[in-house]
Amino acid sequence: MSLHQASLAELAKRLAARELSAVELAQHFLARIDRHRALNCFLDVRPEVTLAQAREADARRARGEHGALLGIPVAHKDIFVTRDFASTAASRMLEGYMSPFDATVVARLSAAGMVTLGKVNCDEFAMGSSNENSAYGPVLNPWDTSAVPGGSSGGSSAAVGARIAPVATATDTGGSIREPAAFCGITGTKPTYGRPSRWGMIAFASSLDTAGLMTVSAEDAAWVLSAVCGFDPKDSTSVDRPEEDFTRDLGHPVQGLRIGVPKEFFASGLQPEVERPVRAALEVYRSLGATLVDISLPTAELGIPVYYVVAPAECSSNLSRFDGVRYGHRASARGDREPLNLEDMIKRSRAEGLGAEPKRRILIGAYVLSHGYYDAYYIKAQQVRRLIANEFQQAFTQCDLIAGPVTTSVAFGFGEKAADPVSMYMSDLYTIPGSLAGVPSVSIPCGFGEGAHASRPVGLQLMANYFDEARLLGAAHQYQLATDWHRRAPPAFAD
């Protein structure tokens, strides 16, 4: 079996047995990154940095260290800042930016011995559902290069989908892990808000931004997530809880598990080619001994309006730091004239450095936070957010997990939604409610579309209550023991 077809457990075993070195493993993936550059997954690759990290991992092993992740390669979404690779958030604004420090998630994975393959593409500042908003060009979906890989973590999902990285970090604000994972046929994991540190994640919407992972399987995710999560005093919303081993429930059967099926997630708008595999996945759970429970999340469908007030409000505040003074793009003397004064320089730097989607969200945010509109929009949205979160708590009195589709459709084509922001925003209909509540959620592959979409994957979404990641990943793993959707890889990238 090729190295890129092996599970993390298999790679770890071979590394531990010294049949394989971290350097050889890194070289294998660097060669794949180079061969499949056409996917446009990577924004910064520095083989000398990667190989130095791999040599260090081998040296640590030679000194007697034996962590499960020691020597395993990882690609980082370009939202996490890194000292040794440029950190751009896929924006012209931050072209060439070299961070003075590593994000906590990056530092924790390095401490565990993971080897950084490079930085992966995404929608600019993680704003988008198709990766078409990257200033450095869209990523292609490895299953069908005429389709988007999803977004915002499209580089992460396509890299893992094409097996050019065994693991990638990602971030999820309204669905940015789960939707691209579904579109690329891999496992996407968004833990509970506050579990992973936000320190060093270039901020988009601070009350929603959550770090997570793209992996082939739930088992792989459980291994890496244990290293990702942990209290960080540098993040004011980091949850101070003991670290956990998220692999602990992988062996638990789902016998007796109550899975809530929200009727609102199967309403009109859900494409039949998505509904069929999702319903079939629910039947797999039933056949494994789980009980399906009808539940209702009546306010969940208002998640999109709520999100498009809360997230832009926080975005307009967070992106105010890009002023062309301390770092980032500054309007130059080129063009029609020199900046007149400081305000003119700031306005022009932002206009030139930021793309259309961040600008749109900054404008929405500035409006809903402005005098006279704050209560009508921002406070109102926060109140409806509370209603949605309360409905999740009500639902979790009736069930242990919630299951449904990740998206209404399979991956769409380039340009299909790019001109119509509202239709693009609807891509996150089923993922935003969980983001607003802050509950953990995974997307796991459960089939493919039909007809012309027969090579486009479909995802099943599972959500759990706060801090119940171990059970969530355990249930996902049990499905993956019974099925092989997660092991399907795009044939064009087999070699």
């Binding site: 305000e343 306005k347 749109r360 929405i364 109102k380 706060y466």
Partner: protein, 95 residues
């Protein structure tokens, strides 16, 4: 009430974004679509509901007021578009 083009210019100024009239016109239609979608939320009865600013609630944690690390001035300034003598340079502020 739909936004007008002068609203877009006003918001853009609040957000310190230079915007041409042509961009403002194009953005106006998109923003009105988006606010049309947002409007549905405003019909919900939220009387007495406490706004949710954060999924896990609770107060912001405070830390000890102690020096924990020293800034790396050279590395921080390395990303500045313009700098001199360890300071950030900006265009004239006072006319």
């Amino acid at each position: 009430m739909p936004l007008r083009q002068e609203d877009v210019q006003r918001i853009a100024h609040l957000a310190r974004l230079a915007i041409t009239d042509e961009e403002a016109a194009r953005t106006l239609a998109q923003l009105n679509d988006i606010f049309g979608m947002i409007e549905r939320m405003r019909a919900v009865d939220t009387d007495g509901i406490e706004p949710m600013s954060h999924p896990l609630g609770g107060a912001q944690r405070l830390r000890e007021d102690a020096v924990t690390e020293m800034p790396d001035r050279e590395r921080n300034l390395a990303n500045a578009p313009a700098q001199q003598d360890g300071l950030f340079l900006v265009p004239r502020v006072l006319e």
